[in-house]
Symmetry: C2
Subunit: 516 residues, 2 copies
Amino acid sequence: MNGADALCATLLAGGVDVCFANPGTSEMHFVAALDRQPRMRCVLGLFEGVVTGAADGYARMADKPAATLLHCGPGLANGLANLHNARRARSPVVNIVGDHATWHRAYDAPLASDVEALARPMSNWVGSAETADAVSETACMAMAQAQAAPGHIATMILPADAAWGEARGPLARPRPAAFLPATRWEAVSAAAQAIRTTRATLLMSGGALRGRALEHAGRIAAAAGARLLAQQSNARMERGAGRVPIARVPYPVDQALASLASVETLILVGAKAPVAFFAYPGKPSALTPPQARIIELAAPGDDIEGALAWLADELGAGSDVEPRRAPRLVAEPPTGALTPDAIAVAIAAHMPEQAIVCDEAVTSGRDFFKHTAAAAPHDFLQLTGGAIGLGIPMATGAAVACPDRKVISLQADGSALYTVQALWTQARENLDVTTVIFANRAYAILYGEYAAVGAAEPGRNARRMFDLADPAPGWVKIAEGFGVPATRVATAESFSRVFADAMASRGPRLIEAAIA
Amino acid sequence: MNGADALCATLLAGGVDVCFANPGTSEMHFVAALDRQPRMRCVLGLFEGVVTGAADGYARMADKPAATLLHCGPGLANGLANLHNARRARSPVVNIVGDHATWHRAYDAPLASDVEALARPMSNWVGSAETADAVSETACMAMAQAQAAPGHIATMILPADAAWGEARGPLARPRPAAFLPATRWEAVSAAAQAIRTTRATLLMSGGALRGRALEHAGRIAAAAGARLLAQQSNARMERGAGRVPIARVPYPVDQALASLASVETLILVGAKAPVAFFAYPGKPSALTPPQARIIELAAPGDDIEGALAWLADELGAGSDVEPRRAPRLVAEPPTGALTPDAIAVAIAAHMPEQAIVCDEAVTSGRDFFKHTAAAAPHDFLQLTGGAIGLGIPMATGAAVACPDRKVISLQADGSALYTVQALWTQARENLDVTTVIFANRAYAILYGEYAAVGAAEPGRNARRMFDLADPAPGWVKIAEGFGVPATRVATAESFSRVFADAMASRGPRLIEAAIA
């Protein structure tokens, strides 16, 4: 067995059975090994940003890593922006980056670059299998690192000669999952005391926003009066009718400061103390009031559910306490102008149970969250690292992970154009994704930010950098060119009808919402 | 004047008056400064790979750098693959990368990353303007580094507070160009002696392939019998009827070895000793015969034209010696099946004088070079670093640099899909670019490489990673969606007619050549 076969077998033994890929010449032996392993599902992306973004979406929904297959330094470079987002989402990802044969490095061939240096900034762990015999053990390390709680980016470099060389040793054994660090009694006690005696907010992210952890938090809020708040951006939230409702820290700095102004104690549950997304002249970076006390109940890699259960117990918020739950409200389908609000209301009305909503709608999507609080229960996945171009790939990966659930991909037009090639993968794999393009023909966020920094009315140079008009992208043609059926709508009624139709059928669809 | 205004003024004073851009929030003050400077031409790319690839194409044709404007670490990361190609092309590029305000770095906001670490692998120089007062001097350094012969990638990080802070000092003065290193007599003498007494090949790249340098080389070949050969891949070659014809080292290793087998002396003129693009089991990395002697007449940053003039003089190849020149041959327009050869013949027949040909046709374009040796004189620009996704952006930048010349962009379909968003910039700027898509619906190179590494017949997993079918991308729709008129052709006659029509009109066009 060669190194490439050893890698395939080790990945499969570790439960990694999906590989998002865009291979090149230096990965041909690994491709041959994948070809001998029909258990490995290979999903092609037409650009590496598609590959890494799909791996992020997959990990968020599958709770385990996919492998990526990337070609040399430039292939990795093309995937870095979405690895940045995945790192911020704490998604487990195992990158396999092919590189030149070890002896070929010295020749500085045209495609040669410093793969390790490129990998480091967006990886939590980087390793290289310098020989065929090292491949299996390196892959086990990568899988263990990726899956160490709460989830990490592990990048494994695979020189071509390590892939094609004969691996003589036995395969390494994938490690079992590590135990989560135990919650400290001091933290639970301090949090309970703070909730009893101060205006306390639980700032939650990661596993705190799902399942039993969210239930515990809801009981704590109901029994002891603590306020629940989620980070501005989160990898995955379970929300909608019947679930414990939870607001988020707003994006605009002034609104964020206002939402936290009355906090006396901020209790972190898998979250970081909130900071402004960008700096602005004369505005603070840290959003917590300076006089507030911050207590970390559970770090992102801790046993978050266990910590919340203990805290609930300490506060007498046992299973007999009923948390507040979001009601099920079905809004009237909207009429008239096609505004972002009308789109949100229509989606709330029509989305099925257990939909997966991927949100990269940026400015147009800011009110979506509010309008869907009482919609059918769903998972809500956000852009975690601010690097646009995640949405369509993330929806692609989520659909691969959950073939039986409807994926709804909310996309700003500017962001969607970054990695629009992911539509092709949705067509190729016949994924059940409905993409809604909020077509405002602008990087609308920049008009707001331009005003926020105190600049004058935009002139020609500024407008030509903010506008996506002249020409406006033709979304129906672009989508159909990639094999995805598409429709353009310009009224609330037509959006509602076309969206309802998409929810009632299966397979990839795109709706260009020409918003007013 | 704030730091952003100082940057704009300094760039313009240094002759940098084109800015390929995709800005974000942290660059809003720089955008405002650009807005106050109508002399700066701002060209928007819908993805950063478009931005950096366009800067490469612009530099190759303008012989001076453009600025790029990139948003934080992820924006830079998206542009790295084409910076890799630009670095291999030795193109001068000045990157301006906006980053968080200096005091905001400590808070690890969602978009924060190590910009300098990301920049280093693909940059020859990296600097950061930590204060508004440092901006102008840092920009002068970046321009000087970018333009140091033969051309470099200079990356300047611009923290938001350096852009919006008040710059109190006077602007720094851009440096004049440095003198080129003088040629060494020993090298000229050794090269002349080798040409007289051995089977010598001049291996040429960079400036050796243009203008008077190429004429000198032609006279050396005519008078003294040296053979002329270009690197496999070059940033820019001047070729076609009336010019000194020059072959290239072939891409496939076995053919490359054969082409160099009889060399006794290899004389490097702005070129590197040739190496295999990839390593293969049992094949050498260095392509020069082990017994051959290698003499470096001129390094890439040396005065290449001066060195060739001196060598010609030493060999008695003065201006009275007439070099061999390519004849002007007009082939019959092809008929029948639409093969890559038929396309090349049709292009050779119809391309106008002084066209700029950008080649990223990969396997489909391998014979283009041969068929256009006697076409109208043209510039030929190649993929220099092997990172696919350069072609459409490079053609875009070349067209910005040379608005009066027709740009012909030869594109493999797989490569074209990497940065297809560049078509929109061609439409927005009404650039005179005709893109030919060699639509073979596959990463055809990988089928060849798969066989070359000795793998078996491709099975399902391999085929699904090599094929672009199921669904085949619809190029006419994709192009029209980005605002570029497009036509699909499937016979040699129809290609010839549509291509001739594109040559006779102006503005962006795309031809999907459904090759047989």
